[in-house]
């Protein structure tokens, strides 16, 4: 009796899960597997696909592809830059909002706007801000007697930093809100006790706030890292990888290889390299974090 009940329950559960399982298997699990398989073929994006297994050829070609190495370097600067600046800027804002300033409500709503907007709209907006002809940023700098004719998105030196700032703008809200929620879970008594012991603001931050936030910082940094590494639309619309490939992040490079050069197999190999790379970086980062945590507790 109990066994049939359990079986009936399981069948019920299976029936309820099935509708989500099918699209997931067909449209995300299968593509992932096929994607890896394609990396070992010479598939091209043509009408009559006729391709064969080529082993590690694609990876061999990659090693000699300087442009791909360049894009990896740019991608790393973009990802680390955006992730670190996001964290720093968001931490500042979260601490401010947590110290009971007025305007908190306004700032919170305002802070979510960048995140809600379509990336294309964000890119259009920032193109206007950065514009070399009557853009407000140059006008602002001119007001302080600084150079006011910079072509932010078109100049080799400024394009990548300019794009990174937009990345920070988009990702900041979510990081801020998450950190703020973490801050609000820290018992006020901890701060009061530290203050009574004569700890200044900085000391209270390093001794109380930061250790309590550590787990949240670790997870939000990991997630932001992956999101930023995978982000495509913003850079594509802002600069399309230009000028002169100075903002050619890897995801964009793979897209062009696949859909402009039509080299699907080669693009898939790049994708595999990117995935391996990001998993490795995250593994090292998380290991270091956990080791520090253990050391912290051991003290």
């Amino acid at each position: 009796m109990a066994a049939t009940m359990a079986r009936a329950r399981r069948r019920e559960a299976a029936a309820l899960v099935m509708p989500s399982l099918v699209p997931i298997l067909v449209l995300s699990v299968a593509p992932l597997v096929i994607g890896v398989a394609l990396a070992f073929t010479d598939a091209r994006l043509v009408r009559n696909p006729d391709f064969g297994f080529t082993g590690l050829d694609n990876f061999g070609t990659l090693v000699g592809n300087d442009l791909f190495w360049d894009s990896l370097r740019i991608g790393l600067i973009w990802t680390v830059g955006v992730t670190v600046l996001q964290l720093a800027a968001s931490m500042g804002l979260a601490l401010l909002l947590n110290s009971g300033l007025k305007l908190e409500g306004l700032t919170r709503v305002l802070a979510l706007v960048p995140w809600a907007m379509p990336p294309v709209v964000v890119a259009i907006m920032w193109q206007m801000i950065y514009s070399a002809n009557g853009g407000p940023l140059n006008a602002f700098l001119g007001g302080f007697g600084l150079p006011d004719d910079i072509n932010w998105l078109g100049d080799f030196a400024t394009a990548l930093p300019a794009v990174i700032v937009v990345g920070v703008w988009v990702g900041m809200p979510q990081t801020t809100v998450t950190l703020l929620a973490g801050l609000q879970q820290i018992p006020a008594e901890l701060h009061e006790a530290a203050a009574v012991d004569g700890a200044g603001a900085w000391r209270r931050f390093t001794a109380v706030t930061w250790p309590s936030l550590r787990p949240i910082v670790t997870s939000i940094t990991s997630l932001n890292f992956i999101w930023n590494f995978n982000s495509f639309s913003l850079v594509y619309v802002l600069t399309a990888g230009g000028p002169g490939g100075k903002t050619m992040v890897p995801v964009l490079f793979v897209y062009l290889e696949a859909f402009k050069n039509r080299e699907i197999g080669q693009a898939a190999a790049m994708g595999v390299v990117l995935v391996v790379l990001i998993v490795l970086i995250l593994a090292v980062y998380l290991r270091a974090q956990f080791r520090d945590d253990r050391a912290e507790r051991g003290r």
Binding site: P23, L96, M128, G134, Q174, S219
Partner: protein, 275 residues
């Protein structure tokens, strides 16, 4: 020294507000400036003359209305699909214990970090085989799949918040599980479903990458793709209408997200902390 802390804090907050808010303000301001003013070198936040004409002009442009309609169709269809699919599954996810639940949650978290570049290639080939590239139906399917994980995550949180005792009471009274679901669980879930639906609508409305890869004919373009086309081509000449179009495209997202603020950040928090 101590007396300076508050003013310094407000100064810092003002800088943040400027950084976060100014770009948006500038976009709105550009959308009500005449092209003469936009191309002149004098820079001012407020227009000399309010030029509302940009909005009807933006709508007049070839493709903008059509692509808005496409975006609307895709976003509504994928929202309905997401909810229909996720609702039963989220119930199972929230109520089952053990391996199934772990596998489900694990998959949801992993899918948040899917390497989209790697997936788009085979996805494109699969959809081409099915004859679904360059079609709104294909795009709807893709949007559905990619919103599903987070929708499941949100919904299972709402289900978990409903006390099991309520269901047990219903079951004791002899109601079948379907009846319990329909009369007890789903009504209590309504606010969660609304929040999830808004989220999935906005995700689809904003989405750019898949639309860029999958859609080829201009009559199938969604709003983000059409706006991007304007930048490359005629956009340079007509900044005003472009800005107006961008403002119009951002309105649904901003309205929904403002309404959803609390629920969304709660869900994200849980995801981020547990991830």
């Amino acid at each position: 020294m101590r007396a300076l802390v508050r003013p310094a804090q407000y100064l810092a907050l003002a800088c943040y507000i400027l950084f976060l808010g100014f770009p948006l303000l500038w976009l709105i301001s550009a959308s009500v400036k005449s092209s003469g003013e936009l191309n002149s070198l004098t820079v001012s936040l407020l227009p000399e003359q309010w030029h509302w004409q940009n909005y009807p002009e933006a709508l007049d442009r070839q493709g903008l209305i059509r692509s808005s309609a496409n975006s609307l169709v895709v976003a509504l269809a994928s929202t309905v699909l997401v909810i229909l699919i996720a609702l039963p599954a989220s119930y199972v996810l929230a109520r089952l214990k053990g391996k199934v639940r772990m596998a489900g949650i694990g998959w949801i978290l992993v899918s948040q970090v899917f390497p989209v570049v790697l997936i788009i290639l085979p996805l494109f080939l699969i959809l081409r085989t099915l004859g679904l590239t360059d079609s709104l139906a294909g795009l709807t399917l893709v949007h559905t799949t990619y919103t599903l994980p987070f929708a499941l995550w949100m919904l299972q949180g709402y289900v978990s918040a409903i006390p099991v005792e309520l269901e047990e009471a219903g079951a004791v009274d002899g109601a079948s599980r379907l009846r319990v679901l329909r009369t007890i669980v789903f009504p209590l879930l309504a606010p969660g479903v609304v929040a999830t639906a808004m989220f999935s609508f906005v995700s689809s409305w904003n989405e750019f990458f898949f639309a860029l890869v999958l859609l080829q004919s201009p009559e199938n373009y969604t709003l983000p793709i059409t706006l991007n086309m304007f930048i490359g081509g005629e956009g340079k000449v007509a900044l005003g209408p472009l800005a107006a179009g961008a403002v119009l495209a951002a309105i649904p997202s901003i309205v929904f997200f403002t309404l959803l603020r609390r629920r969304l950040t709660g869900g994200l928090m849980a995801g981020a902390v547990k991830g």
